[in-house]
């Protein structure tokens, strides 16, 4: 994992760490969903760094993994946002009812 991949590896790990910090500290579902997306991007960069190890042509397998990972991340984000929105609506309706809770 020398040379060509190194910057990607470092940026990827930095992104994962930043996202982990946000995930622990940030309140609210939406921030957590964004943090997990950033973390996923960091992991994808690490995979790209893994593809560039050694001499010559980059390894295609990690790129395929990243593609699959992106599909999974989009699907998961969609479900998470749908759930968060439903919860938000329940909160709003409760407030409209005047209960204040």
């Amino acid at each position: 994992m020398r040379a060509a991949g190194d910057p990607y590896l470092l940026v990827g790990i930095a992104l994962v760490c930043l996202a982990l910090r946000a995930l622990v500290l940030a309140p609210g579902a939406l921030r957590r969903i964004i943090a997990l997306n950033v973390m996923g991007s960091g992991v994808f960069l690490v995979l790209i760094a893994a593809a560039a190890r050694g001499e010559g042509e980059p390894d295609p397998v990690p790129h395929a993994l990243v593609l699959t990972g992106i599909v999974v991340a989009v699907a998961t984000s969609a479900l998470a946002i749908a759930l968060a929105r439903r919860l938000h609506r329940i909160d709003e309706r409760d407030e409209d009812d005047g209960g204040g809770r």
Binding site: M1, V43, V46, L47, P62, L65, T76, L79, L83, R86
Partner: protein, 503 residues
């Protein structure tokens, strides 16, 4: 030859698609046919493995460096049978909850495709031999399980589902990062090919740690259990049964495969003991929390947190010795059989308990333990199923739990590490303590008016749910009365990692 192996994943997956296309009317029938076919396939595969050893399949005829391999050893075959048996019972229970117009749930027809998808994902998890395939199956299981938890629709169910989704997502991301590191290190995703190339360098160790944390989060091991009780308790009873019996167990199976085989070279004795200690903490802490619960489903959910600790004992007692090349050693084999037998029996027992709890809650009109007084008279069969499941978890004969704990204790003592046996037995006492609280409430007429909020209107016991609970309780007894076949099956293909003495 390996048609049964391919079918174990393809049949439920196809069923999920058909159930989605078929809509409200056809879906329950599709699920019934899928369950029957899967049960037959799992039985056939288990027989094949039991007689002839490990069954392998290279998907699409592509061999390993290019293709993706599936493999059914004894553990995988037993897990497939567990999935099919619990699946059939959950499906029967779901008939009285979600089928037709009379279902109690607003969007009940959504249950069937999600449930079959979950089934396919669990099957893929236990037979997959490829670490990235495992990632996809983990995510598939997580997404469909979250959908099922959210079915309740209320605030508690949605919060439980969202918490579950975020935890599962974080776990899968940690796991994927581990996959990236191990691929960079070894250049392969195949578990068998990997096992010869993993050393004990920093990259491999970090990969094993990341993948393990991801899986421990998915398996709700203390202190990563925070999401489980709310998710499992707020779901409809058949869903809780499926989640507690299958999904967490499948994550644990993958963990054991990594430690005993795929990444054996990176396993150190200290790390294995640390995971084992985590298991002991899980047993004690999960049980103590279970004792404090006032609601029946919460109690059973915390019980799952505790019982997962037993499966973690597989890491120091079986996986680490196997990683050092200890295949064939009696202590290791006993521990392997005991731990994996417990994975299966816990699944059956937990399924029986959640389904029985569904019956009791419907009959009593609420799930507060204090309000369940005198249920032994009003719903005797459901109470009996609950008690059999409970006795299995405590580990008394004649249930499968006794056999499993016997082998675990034997493995621990033979290995000269009796402290794990002490944890197994102490856990049994703790389990008995919190279950007796429930049994006492069920047996005695505890109606002291005015003490608790008045229960909702009592209802009828749902028939399908009762049949499912009773069937699983009978399986618990069968596992205790005829254990030998199952034990032999679990002994097939105990991993012997290439490279043997790693480290």
């Amino acid at each position: 030859m390996s048609a049964a192996l391919a079918g174990s994943v393809v049949v439920p997956l196809g069923g999920a698609v058909l159930a989605l296309v078929g809509g409200r009317r056809a879906a329950p029938w599709v699920a019934a046919v899928t369950a029957a076919v899967s049960l037959a396939l799992a039985g056939a595969l288990a027989l094949q493995v039991w007689r002839g050893g490990v069954v392998e399949l290279e998907a699409g005829g592509w061999s390993v460096p290019l293709g993706i391999a599936m493999r059914a050893d004894g553990l995988a075959a037993a897990m497939l049978v567990l999935t099919a048996v619990v699946g059939a019972a959950v499906g029967t229970a779901a008939m009285s909850e979600f089928a037709g117009e009379r279902g109690r749930w607003a969007r009940g027809d959504g249950f069937w495709p999600l449930w079959l998808l979950l089934w396919a994902a669990v099957a893929a998890l236990v037979v997959s031999r490829d670490v990235f395939n495992v990632y996809v199956a983990l995510e598939l299981a997580g997404l469909s399980a979250v959908g099922l938890v959210a079915m309740g629709g209320g605030r508690a169910a949605l919060e439980g589902a969202l918490g579950y989704l975020l935890a599962a997502w974080l776990g899968a991301t940690a796991y994927l990062l581990g996959v990236a590191l191990i691929y960079a290190e070894t250049g392969t995703l195949d578990m068998v090919a990997m096992s010869g190339r993993v050393g004990d360098g920093p990259a491999a160790t970090a990969a094993l740690a990341l993948m393990s944390v991801g899986l421990l989060l998915k398996a709700a091991v203390v202190p990563l259990h925070f999401w489980l009780p709310r998710a499992h308790a707020s779901a409809p009873a058949p869903v809780s049964a499926a989640l507690s019996a299958l999904v967490v167990t499948a994550a644990m199976v993958v963990l054991v495969r990594l430690w005993s085989e795929a990444m054996a070279g990176a396993v150190g004795a200290a790390a294995a003991n640390l995971v084992g200690a985590l298991g002991v903490v899980a047993i004690v802490w999960g049980s103590l929390l279970a004792m404090r619960q006032r609601s029946l489903k919460m109690l059973i959910a915390y019980s799952t947190v505790g019982q997962m600790g037993y499966l973690l004992l597989l890491i120091p007692l079986a996986a680490a010795p196997l990683a050092r090349g200890g295949a064939g050693d009696r202590a290791t084999e006993d521990a392997w059989v005991g731990g994996t037998y417990y994975a299966v029996t816990h699944g059956v027992a937990k399924g029986a308990m959640f389904l029985a709890a569904g019956c009791l809650i419907a009959a009593a009109g609420g799930d507060r333990i204090a309000a369940l007084g005198g249920m032994a008279g009003r719903a005797p069969l459901a109470v009996a199923a609950f008690v059999v499941g409970g006795v299995t978890l405590v580990g008394l004969p004649p249930t499968g739990g006794f056999v499993a704990k016997w082998y675990l204790v034997s493995g621990s003592i033979r290995a000269g590490e009796p402290w794990w046996a002490v944890a197994v037995l102490a856990g049994s006492l703790l389990t008995a303590a919190y279950l007796l609280v429930v049994v006492r409430a069920l047996m005695y007429r505890g109606d002291r008016p005015g003490e608790d909020a008045p229960p909702r209107e009592p209802g009828r016991v749902p028939g399908g749910m009762l049949v499912g609970a009773a069937a699983l309780a009978l399986v618990c007894l069968a596992l205790g009365l005829r254990p030998l076949e199952g034990i032999e099956l679990l002994g097939v293909g105990i991993p012997a990692p290439a490279g043997g003495g790693g480290g």
